[in-house]
């Protein structure tokens, strides 16, 4: 942590408690976590961010990141390539491939035959954006989306690529994007974590690529910035529920006794850290109420539930998690990250794509619509995408109806909506093979720089000194993509 800031926080906290040390627990605690207490340090009513007033005008207060883990094919979703139909089973021209590295899964293949998409595309919205038939609901909201067709990354395998997208480095050890945002901007809600992660079920084959806690970890930042996974079964937050046989009254009595004893200790030894601990127990107690209230979807009216589709009633589905994400956003949780696995389609792609797209299409579109109808899309940035793209050439057996695609880091498609992103545009273009980018490339670092920009953060200025170096999410790279901004 920035030492000056650390110092100020300490002093402020001590000052605050110095004046209230005579009062017991709850009153003092409630106000410690009240936004206003430390409001003097930041322009926004947030607690604990290291950045002072926003460095740039923020257009987004929070982010919902829909992470499609395993890498969905751009050729089956947003990157329409009609010319490929005639090139079925012909070899990818060397003039296109230009000797680029390919993974060892297909580098041994005798041929790299072109696999046109089996799916139909149509033009949608006022801008006439091409969207595949797999995403009928998404197609209806394209006027709210900025579709990016020219995202590219450095990594060619899942583990490093996911790590790269979310931490800006392929090697583990760096903080994740949500941790950076929490660290920079702090919390807007004293009763919930600043950074929340939701894992989703999926419908395609059971073998799905893994995710890793480092994707929402805090790296070398203090661990309080790491994402908290909200789970769909068991405790929504780990260890949230009282054990069997302990009701809320018992817990309250236990906490009152604990606070009284800890206060006595504070009076004896004078360590201000004790006061923080008392406050954290009270926050834990409040979370025991606020989190179940948050995850209880039964209070949603039927027409809202219907928007998200039938899966919304099954906890852990993308539908259920998208609705939960909206509820988190309403409660001003800063960074919400939804993971869905099952997008790694080396074979049997058409079948599995159908299943996966059905999982996500209606809920993701509903999320955007729902935010919009509440006026929240204006300051909520929604991002959809995977960790890389897929190859135009087939992996394994190729037929018109069935094929697989290998990893392709050189171009892939994503979309963004709200939070200051220009709606209704299609950004970037790839060649006829969706192999190389021909216009407006957006590197992962550029994308991340743009996300931070929308949050009012200059990505070059949100740094943390570790091992003698000032680290940042975008390493030493990244340019804000102005063309994406409204």
């Amino acid at each position: 942590m920035n030492p000056v800031r650390e110092q100020i926080e300490r002093l402020t906290r001590r000052y605050f408690f110095g004046r209230t040390a005579t009062g017991i627990g709850t009153v003092a605690l409630a106000s410690l976590l009240d936004d206003r207490v430390m409001g003097g340090l930041t322009a926004e009513p947030s607690v604990g961010g290291v950045l002072g007033r926003p460095q740039i005008r923020a257009t987004a207060k929070r982010v919902i990141y829909l992470s499609m883990n395993g890498a969905p094919s751009q050729l089956e979703t947003f990157d329409y390539k009609p010319k490929l139909t005639e090139l079925f089973d012909s070899d990818l021209p060397d003039s296109v491939r230009m000797g680029q590295r390919i993974t060892t899964m297909t580098s041994g293949q005798k041929r790299l035959p072109i696999a046109p998409s089996v799916f139909k595309f149509g033009r949608h919205g006022q801008g006439g954006a091409w969207v595949s038939e797999l995403l009928p609901h998404t197609a209806k909201i394209v006027d709210d989306l900025a579709i990016l067709r020219s995202v590219n990354t450095d990594a060619i395998n899942h583990d490093p690529a996911c790590t790269f997208v979310f931490t800006g480095a392929q090697q583990p050890g760096r903080p994740s994007m949500g941790a950076w945002v929490s660290y920079g901007l702090g919390s807007l809600n004293g009763n919930l974590p600043t950074f929340v992660v939701l894992h989703s079920t999926w419908s395609s084959k059971r073998d799905a690529q893994a995710v890793f806690s480092r994707l929402w970890g805090s790296g070398f930042l203090p661990s309080k910035y790491q994402g908290v996974a909200l789970r769909s079964s068991g405790d929504p937050v780990l260890y949230l529920s009282n054990p069997p046989g302990v009701d809320s009254d018992s817990r309250r009595r236990m906490l009152d006794a604990l606070a009284e004893l800890n206060q006595k200790e504070l009076a004896t030894v004078g360590d201000p850290e004790i006061n923080t601990r008392i406050a954290q127990y009270e926050m834990a107690y409040r979370m025991q109420t606020s989190v179940p209230e948050l995850t209880n979807l039964s209070t949603e009216p039927k027409h809202i539930l219907d928007m998200y589709g039938p899966d919304v009633h099954i906890p852990g589905t993308v539908a259920s998690n998208c609705l939960l994400a909206r509820r988190l956003a309403e409660r001003d949780v800063r960074f919400i990250q939804i993971f869905q696995r099952g997008w790694d389609h080396h074979g049997n792609l058409p079948t599995d794509m159908r299943l996966q797209c059905r999982d996500i299409d209606q809920p993701c579109a509903a999320l955007v619509k729902d935010l919009k109808q509440r006026g929240m899309l204006d300051d909520t940035l929604v991002i959809w995408g995977g960790e890389f793209g897929r190859t135009v050439y087939c992996q394994g057996n190729l037929t018109r109806e069935d094929y697989g695609r290998d990893h392709h880091p050189r171009c892939f498609s994503m979309w963004m909506a709200g939070g200051g992103v220009k709606p209704g545009i299609v950004y970037g273009e790839t060649d006829d093979f969706s192999y190389n980018i021909v216009r407006d490339p957006v590197h992962v670092h550029d994308l991340n720089a743009t996300v931070l920009h929308c949050l009012g953060i200059n990505h070059e200025r949100l740094t943390y000194r570790f091992q003698g170096r000032d680290f940042r999410l975008t390493d030493v790279h990244g340019n804000v993509v102005r063309g994406l901004l409204a």
Partner: protein, 881 residues
Amino acid sequence: MPSPPIRRFPIAVVLAACLALTGSFPAVAGATRHINYSRDIRPILSNSCYKCHGPDEHERKAGLRLDTKAGAIGKLESGEAAITPGSSVKSAIFQRLTSHDPDVKMPPPESGKSVSAEQIGLIKEWIDQGAEFHPHWSFVPPRHFPASPIKTPTAASNPIDRFIISRLEDEGLQPSPTSDKTTLVRRVTLDLTGLPPTIGEVDAFLADTSPNAYEKLVDRLLASPQYGEQMTRDWLDAARYGDTHGLHLDNERSIWPYRDWLIRSFNSNEPFDQFAVEQLAGDLLPNATIDQRVATGFSRCNITTGEGGAIDEEFYVRYAVDRVQTTGTVFLGLTLGCCVCHDHKFDPITQKDFYRLFGYFGSLTEQPMDRNAFLPPPAIRTGPAADSGKIDRLKGDVAAADSAIRKALKAFRYQEPVVDARIVTTGSGAAAPRPDELRSRSLKAWEASVAKDKSSLPRNVARALEIPSQKRSSRQANVVRDYFVEHVYAGSRSIFDPLHAKRDAARRRLDEAEQDSPSTLVMQDTPKMRDIFVLVRGAYDRKGEKVLPGVPAAIAPALRADAPLNRLSLARWIVDARNPLTARVIVNRFWQHYFGTGIVKTAEDFGAQGEWPTHPELLDWLATELEESGWNVKRIQRLIVTSATYRQSSHVSAALAQRDPENRLLARGPRFRMDAEMVRDTALAVSGLLVTNLGGKSVKPYQPSGLWEAIGYSGSNTVHFVQDKGDALYRRSLYTFWKRTSPPPSLTTFDAPSREECVVRRGRTNTPLQALVLMNDEQYVEAARQLAERMMREGGKTVADRIALGFRLATSRQPTQEEIRVFQTLYTAQSAAYARNRQAAAKLLGVGESPHDPKWDPCELAAWTMVANVMLNLDETVTKG
């Protein structure tokens, strides 16, 4: 050189300047002094200027180099001199720093760097005082400073104190009085063993009135086996130890014998130089023992992958880079990672230096793709059976038994009985035998019986059965027939049952021997060295200049020219007396263990960007003591914990909290929340559940269900968490199985790192999630119940007595009357609540796998459990104070 004019600096200005820079602590307050280049100036230049005017010649602008005197005072391309010693007015740097013209101003506005007015003032003074340059402090070998003279020598217990008190006197501060004996025995027991003292141990110390009672206590603790466990715990973070590969599938792997080697080494007080050499190059020592080879697991703890499609060369490079970085951080306190892509921007290490170090780790027999294997080679067997060939013999027995079964299968002629097809497939009909009888007599009947559920069958058999029998290949048909004959057919039981029994017995003997002789990952070089290249911008496929393995000469002189080009030379260079870093880095981490913060706060970085030591002479004194004592580790621990500094009371007065909130000056004793493992181990110890066995395979205590499934690759062998039973639930936390993509949540919540990479300084946060763990985690609720039983069983008859016992177990001290009253009130309320709801009591007592004694009334025990729950949640219980 002209004698520097002496100026007085207001402390606030210096403090602000230093804090704003690197968080370094000012040396002397208020005293007259001259500017110290290393402490006051270099951090400013390093932070704001070196990026373009530092050691990295590729990035250097305007030909100006500010990290050396020659570079700073030499003529620039413009003809001016950046620095003219003695005259800030004639120094271009000063003009540029104070300019308002954005084209002239330094640092340029777009760099995002800025130098404050106070800092510019310091630079001006420094130039006017003659602009003295010194090499960076940590690259100068430590000197054995005599302990400082102090005004109150009686306050000192050993030389450490003289350094600390001397600084306090300069600051106008007083050391705190010695802690009371109870606090002391608790503090030192926690620090040296990671566990709280037992009541007996506290009482024994209180009763011992001899003048050396404390020293005796320390010696007992240093000799206890738990000392080695406690020291190992820190080292596991540094070595990035884990029980899984860490990448992609994140399968299990076996390297815990290395962890056990660490425990043994600390307990036997292996000299640190030997400890280091064995970990870095034990395999290359002449006639290396098995233990010395096990030690090299240090460099095999890095994360590895077996991900399909990954490119070998890329990961070969990553592993070597990780090994260099880890070695650099752990032993040298250097941030070598910067040099993967370019020359270091702050420290005198070039990219070429980096790849020369890389060369030491560049010729291993390891395959970059680990195949997600349990033992990706090179691996060796350890333990009693390792040398004797016993394992091979037992493996031979198993193979022979297997082959006998195969032979019998081949010889066996199976004839399908003639039965009415209708009966066979439906199992009905008057003349039919009972279905279970039939299925062991007829292949067809058996096939029909397993048609619905093949989950208990081997995969290849199940797969063959999926295919209709007439369409099966002859191989698939044989698979089905053989399985039936071997395992099901009644007519062959007399042949196969004895063969199976024989094979199972052989396997059991092998398993037992293997458990006694676990295998572990080690280092091994290829006979022929690989060519090593500088990699342009760190890219694995962009080879630059070819280099040979070697050490960075700017840090310490290389060993003899004829030293072999292998890790052993590197290891010997690291512990060579001329290496200025190693001993300092190590004693600093020991210091951090006891005081929470190192003398150099940035324990991982002793370079120019690291923090200036609060007590440089003390650090040097400790470093030289360590070396001159023959790298005697226990001796250094003993020196530290027997110092008066360590024994001070940790009470924080308002004035001191204001003056030195982080306790860097040590005018009081250390007080901070214990590390994750200590928090859990304390609960286990206090409740009486702790199982103190040393070493062994990692264990899987309680964790909430579904965590591994939520993230794991379905083909991973760690995708399903299977909790252990019995003793394994109550082992010390350093034995908890470490899955690196989903590490144990109750430990990471308390800042345990993921172990994906080397960490030598943990964070120490205070969060609501920690409160939830201590209140609700099954492990802690069970511990509370056990503590409750203990209070009832051992605490006597009265409520107050029982409370006193529990409180003492948790905090080591007697509760005050007021504290007892608070617990009594809670107990009364909870007793009443559970009397009204006996079911709730029963439920609470059902948490955790250990049984509870039925002789206690469940309502009473539940009420006491809630009392104990408070005790385990007390700030004092989780704090070393």
